[in-house]
Amino acid sequence: MSSLKRTSLIRRAGLYCFGPIPVLFTVLFAMVSTLHAQEGFKTETSSGVTNIRIAVADFKPLSTDPQTASLKTTFDATLYSDLANAGIFDIVSKSLLPQSTPGSPADISLQQWAAPPSSAAMVAFGSFAIQSDKIVCSGYLFDAKNLQYPQVLAKQYTDVVTEDAARQIAHRFADEIIFRLSGGSQGIAETKIYYVKIAGPDKEIWEMDYDGANQHAITHLGTVSLSPRIAPDNSRLAFSSLGRDGFQIRMYSLILGRMVNFSSTGGTNLSPAWAPNGKDLAFSSSRTGDPEIWITDVNGSLARRITSFRGPDVSPVFNPRTGSQIAWISGRTGLPQLYIMDTDGSAVQRMTDGGYATSPSWSPNGQFLAFAWDRKYGPGAPGGQDIYVMEIATKRWIQLTHDTGRCDFPSWSPDGRHIVYANTADGKAAHMKIWTMLADGTQKRALTGAGGDMPNWSWK
């Protein structure tokens, strides 16, 4: 019933381990049918925990429609990359999978998948067909080690026959799997990223899926639009746009598909930020001559000023967990630094102790701030601008990017496990690309080609 397993403390990058004490643990599972007249189980552990090893089978085509093959290829690739990008699985390489493509629970031989070389703990499989101008897709998630009751998840999806629908089905199924196996945290496969697309002299707001697919324009204003911020309910997009009166906050309704009213004021208005309740908008406005943080409602009325120091105050961002705090960048002591305060302007606290800090983003659980920081700014000690994450309670920070050129505009994913940011390897603004990484700085990859800037991850 029990078995021994040797593990040793693994030295993680950037961290010093606590003494090289290797530990040896016994892992033992036992069941009790009733405990305190309740259902329960007994478990024993542990450590040296590995991630769940998941195998994703190619889905079985069940129709002879000529489109099936190409849509199924899109579906398979999307599902695989969604699970690989989730950051919580060990995914089995497709070359190690068994040759069979099971289409239904009756077809699958789980021992085959649980055995080496695939050694999967979980298997995702299913069938994909086009029936009467609809995609009909059945997806299953099976526990490869529990032969008696293997089924964890069974889903059926029906949608129109398009490339985009096939991708969306894969995203939805991937999110279901992530929800079950991650311990209740929602997946991000259905989320969007809004960003600035540099096209010649103009900058327009664009949208893409979280994996960089489906890039398309939202605005066609023919001017310079900056810092898109999506509303918490995905209904509106606030951004700052250069018009007749200088930079003003503009509002685009994604439901109506057109611009909606937002009162313009004097001065330069930049970097809007949505409150998590979706009713307030904070932004930087220089209507009094000095850039300060203002909060208005979603129509631009009921404006109130919450900072009043000399020196620029820009880039506000609400605490998404509570909505009662704002982090922002202030130049009141010279170089721009990161600060936090309550939404009424009280309890101001400085977070960075030097350098040149810009573009904060608050993590969804309220625990961290991601921001761009040049720790050795100025002549004599030049440094590069990189992405950092700071734990607010302790003000301890870690550096996520290093020596890859100028990095800016970090934005957290809604699950708090990913960060999207803009990076330019050679320092030229026109070569800015959007990248994504896990929140510990691993698994970096580019989402766009040159000309993508200022990404903002949707709230859900």
Partner: protein
């Protein structure tokens, strides 16, 4: 601090050490373009005399005699205890399922939703910082923690069932459970009780 990011770590440690390099990224270097001076006539090397390489005959490798590979019979017993932590748990459960004493009618939560037990197992294990337990007093000891999981998957009523005799080990085990935000909604039922035993073994 990395360990408090919501990503699965391999083994958590107390991270009071140095977190990152003190050296920030270097500033981008912009070097001026320089014109290469023309080569002086002496710099052009006089070509060496071409000599033919010595050829050596290939040695023929003898072909190994063909043997008939012995066919190993498939194992008649369930394979256990040869894989990583997560598999052991499941293999153990397979063993349990395989015994004749467990009938289908008498199924329990752990057998039906083995994947959920595994999530509980790995989530708590990920959050157990073994460095919190004093190694002198705790090595070789084990403590049992009992807690309930409610409908939303949140652990409640965490208490020590069996003390190990090392207060730091008991506390580290308690904290491991308390650190978990949730295991995901229960697949069945409103509440289950979990008994979790932590061992700290010397090597």
């Amino acid at each position: 601090m990395v360990s408090s990011l919501p990503l699965p770590p391999t083994q958590r440690t107390l991270d009071t050490g140095v977190l990152t390099s003190e050296a920030p990224s270097p500033a981008p270097v912009i070097s001026k373009e320089r014109t290469e001076p023309p080569p002086s006539p002496k710099e052009i090397a006089i070509p060496e005399k071409i000599t033919k390489p010595i050829k050596t005959a290939d040695k023929p490798t003898p072909t190994p005699p063909k043997h008939v590979q012995p066919v190993t019979p498939p194992p008649t017993k369930a394979v256990t205890g040869e894989t990583a932590g997560i598999r052991i748990a499941q293999a153990t459960m397979e063993l349990k399922n395989g015994t004749a004493s467990v009938s289908v009618e008498d199924r329990t939560f752990g057998e039906r939703f083995a994947y959920y037990v595994n999530i509980v197992n790995s989530k708590v294990a990920q959050n157990w910082y073994t460095a919190e337990a004093d190694p002198k007093a705790s090595l070789g000891k084990s403590t049992t923690i009992v807690f309930d999981i409610n409908r939303e998957g949140v652990p409640e009523n965490v208490r020590v069932e069996t003390r190990s005799g090392s207060p730091t080990l008991d506390l580290s085990a308690m904290r491991a459970v308390q650190r978990v935000d949730g295991f995901g909604p229960l697949p069945q039922g409103n509440r289950i009780t979990v008994e979790y035993t932590f061992h700290l073994h010397p090597q």
